[in-house]
Symmetry: C2
Subunit: 459 residues, 2 copies
């Protein structure tokens, strides 16, 4: 990073922080209709700050839901183009009484900035905005072409941005995407997330009798859809967590020995994970796989809820006419969600007991993602992180899915740099969410350096 | 039945019917607090009619819930004592718009009296009252000692009467109990119900992690209590409906060949049962047992509902910290509910997967009931039914439990005559409940005859 950029960041730290606080004061809760004016205000704030940073063609794009914001600076011909993504909406702050200071009155304690959205994702997204400003103000130009696409529906499913990316691939054309909405594996440990699991989320709907029946009068002759779902689901997985769907594991790509070795070197304490994060009597899962491999690189099957029959207090002797279950599978690289879904449907049909009809409804699918850490653009990110935090960057994966990542890969065909500056204890979605402030400023430095490295990278 | 009694019934038919209509106009819905005054009025009606019939020591007994009514006529020394039970409370009438005529405006169409409570149980219970009146007015005495115990909480669990019987065994001392709150197997087919299944109703409460977890971040390492319950429950029963609890079938008493043969002679059409009553693609249950045997004389296991995780629309990727399931077993004669419960608890513990804790909560138990049809008091009932309806009486069982029957057996040690005059299409608990009027008058005749036969029976 040039001395001018570094000096600009240093001399504007207080203002950057004040601006972020102003941003955080806007309660832009996307799921609650009463916050619609706040959503408007937050989207206007982002657009204004992009313009102030020197970005061009900044626009607020109306959607069926909350507005998208677009901006670009594309005056670096021959250089790569990076698409920066983030979101300005936040989760609801409840339960309010558990916040030490109010969720929309940003407050600093011990170098942490406490506010809803401080880490997820206003603070991290604002890093990109300030990186653009620092470079444009210090040098009058960016080292690469930069496009911004910021959404306001990430916490409610991101439908508008997904549609927009699908329909505007030309406008959003780029060489790499940058997302800062994840976390570092440990404090001070620069981290690049290179893999995400995929997902097939289904609902099984089972019907038996024409109406609810009394288990005294009909138990022994009438089929029970809840019992049927239980039988089906129990046979989709062995007690030792092996999924029992023909062909399910056919294309599973295991992590390389190098990647597994790198996970073994991470500061991960299984006992602490069990006690502090999970809190169950013991951890579970497939034998022969370490915890991180099970979480990041092994497919899993879970049931999330069953509906039907009687769910109140006390005893009701009902055989429900209908019942349903939400069942999902996490997928790993090379597993095709559509093929998995088809195999799942077939297996459910095979397992359906006589007397019942079971329908499989697909609720969502996402492909697993795996980026090569040796890709020159990812290497550009690694070097900026390692330089900024003065420690070797570690590579991790995440067990969840980030749908926009799969969308960028599918529609834009580019690698995605998941350069997160959050910390594991940031309490996203919970009371007392915080953002570690040194990471805010180091993040701005790392992103400017990333763009400078990108300009020199050979694709 | 004496000519005097027969003549008395014939000449008072219209008044009996008018009185029943008056009774049915009182909306004594026990579950709705706003009907408390109607409950009072209905209980006063019953007490007044018992007095008018010539019963003595008639009292309304206050309880924690709705009042009980007691009355007796015990001036037949050396003769058996019969305890008549019934209830004056009714189910709510919803949905109102489906009634052809309003639920509390009794209306006669095609010999049927339409009103909420007409069959369950005001009409049937009133048979006993009018039988007592007919005998006392015609002869000035009853052939046996008769006690009445009428409750107003049958539709909401019958807590008060259960406690009262337990605490007043001496006052209620009798040789046989009479209940008219069941139905005839088919129109014109005099029916005595001699068996009921028992019940063990439990709730399984499973806990895993300390809080709800995201299935992306923790799936593969954190235990899932819903999945755990599914595994446990699925292994409590084989796919061919055999219950897998050690010792479960040890004491099961199969029906005698004679009883099975009598069931085979009942006018039961399996196809019609499937299509009109159940409506599922096929019937299910243990192979090698006919439908009626499966419903009446085989133990079953059902799951009635699961709570935990996500039950809304759409997809939420939660691994719940806690989940619960309601699981019940119907029991048959000689199965001890306490022993079954203990074996069930042990088996659940055995089946509990690592990482979870599962607690078994007992919600209710009831012993199965089986009366010998050759008992002289049951024979007295059979003869009165056969004589009144001019067809051989059939013996059936019911798959459900009637808690008061088990209570009478336990606390009073007497056989219970379940002499029902309802018909299978009476629509109890549903709109357009009705009572077939010829059965009201035949019921009065059958009950007077039963008492007369009882006076001659050798215990």
């Amino acid at each position: 990073m040039s001395t001018q950029v570094s000096a600009y960041i240093d001399s504007n730290k207080d203002r950057f922080l004040e601006e972020l606080k102003t941003f955080l004061k806007i309660p832009s809760v996307s799921t609650l209709p009463e916050h619609k004016p706040d959503i408007e205000q937050a989207s206007e704030f982002v657009a204004a700050k992009l313009r102030a940073a020197g970005m061009e063609k900044v626009e607020r794009i109306p959607t069926a839901g909350h507005p998208l914001i677009y901006g670009e600076w594309v005056a670096a011909p021959g250089k790569p183009t990076v698409l920066c993504y983030g979101h300005y909406d936040v989760q609801p702050p409840d339960p309010l009484e558990e916040w030490v200071t109010p969720p929309f009155e940003p407050s600093i304690r011990n170098d942490n900035l406490y506010a809803r959205g401080s880490s997820d994702d206003k603070g991290q997204m604002y890093i990109h905005v300030k990186a653009a400003e620092a470079l444009l103000r210090a040098h009058g130009a960016l080292p690469v072409n930069v496009k911004f696409l910021i959404e306001g529906e990430e916490e409610v499913g991101g439908l508008a941005v997904d549609k927009y990316v699908k329909q505007n691939a030309e406008k959003l054309r780029c060489d790499v995407a940058l997302i800062s909405d994840t976390e570092m594996f440990a404090p001070d440990l620069p981290t690049l997330c290179i893999g995400l699991r995929g997902l097939v989320y289904t609902e099984l709907i089972a019907t038996g009798a024409a109406q609810d029946l009394h288990s005294g009068m009909y138990g022994g002759a009438a089929p029970n859809p809840l019992m049927g779902l239980i039988r089906i689901i129990s046979r989709l997985q062995t007690p030792d967590y092996r999924i029992q769907i023909p062909g399910f594991y056919d294309n599973v790509e295991p992590p390389t020995p190098e990647e597994k070795a790198s996970w073994a070197r991470l500061p991960f304490d299984e006992k602490e994970f069990l006690q502090k994060e999970v809190g169950s009597p013991c951890l579970v899962g497939e034998e022969g796989f370490e915890v991180l491999e099970r979480l990041w690189a092994r497919p899993t099957l879970e049931v999330h809820g069953l509906v039907g029959g009687f769910q109140g207090e006390g005893a009701k002797t009902v055989i429900p006419a209908k019942a349903s279950a939400k069942v999902s599978m996490r997928l790993v690289p090379r597993q095709d969600p559509q093929k998995i879904l088809a195999a799942f449907e077939k297996q459910v049909e095979q397992l359906t007991p006589p007397g019942l009809r079971v329908q499989v409804k697909m609720l969502s699918t996402a492909e697993a993602v795996l980026m090569s850490p040796t890709h020159p653009y990812l290497q550009a990110a690694v070097e900026s992180l390692t330089g900024t935090f003065r420690k070797p960057t570690v590579f991790i994966r995440a067990g969840g899915s980030i749908p926009i990542v799969a969308r960028f890969q599918d529609s834009l065909g580019v690698p995605v740099v998941l350069m997160g500056f959050g910390l594991p204890d940031d309490r996203l979605h919970s009371p007392n969410e915080k953002f570690y402030l040194p990471n805010f400023f180091d993040g701005i430095r790392a992103v400017t350096q990333f763009w400078e490295n990108l300009a020199e990278a050979e694709p």
